[in-house]
Symmetry: C2
Subunit: 147 residues, 2 copies
Amino acid sequence: MFRSFMPEALGEARAAALRGEVPVGAVITQGSQILAAAGNRTRELRDPTAHAEMLAIRAACAALGQERLEGCAIWVTLEPCAMCAQAIAHARLARLHFGAEDPKSGGTIHGARVFAHPQTHHVPEIHEGLEAAASAALLREFFSGRR
Amino acid sequence: MFRSFMPEALGEARAAALRGEVPVGAVITQGSQILAAAGNRTRELRDPTAHAEMLAIRAACAALGQERLEGCAIWVTLEPCAMCAQAIAHARLARLHFGAEDPKSGGTIHGARVFAHPQTHHVPEIHEGLEAAASAALLREFFSGRR
């Protein structure tokens, strides 16, 4: 078992908050090596698909020069939405670690529950709860600061 | 009511097949104007997120310089998967027209049924069946040619 990379994912989420982006961060690892790390950049890039997970998946695929990330893990501070969950399946990521649950917009263990259907052809091992309090606090602070 | 842009989407799907990609095409329109057109490029770009819809959404957002495509329509030859359906919601596209159903991998009217959950905060008007036979035939030919 490898150490948790959630501290690095949280660092990406904090950096996103400083850029004025919804603070979510993601890291992709192969064994004990970080292949890619990204924070949410939907505003900066004016791209509704630029969630942390999507940017990390694209960067990790570019780093390896392949469209599948078999054997790799993704560490995300928040439960992925349906878009990101399906991208995780398309990328064949072996493990998904996420921090806080997202009952409002999640698509992994809430809502669309992307991995619960036979139309999703790959299901990662899913672990939740690592640094969940810190992840949720970051989001809460961000949204309360904007009110 | 505007004319159908499914012929243009089918043209993108045919071009994808010629590149050795799974033949799916997408077009995004604003009124009677095409903002973006794309075919699947997952292999060429070695990017599992490079579905036709995702590339078209990103290109249309870049063309308008904004992360939302309110009032715009997307025309896709095949039922979107959960990733693309959720991206359509994130982009706030007003209408989704798709050709063939995809009982095996779809996430719009099959599987995750992304728009059927309160966690998906925007639901486009959905129209299906335009050029469905041509779209399905293209996919069938592509996969039978590879066997």
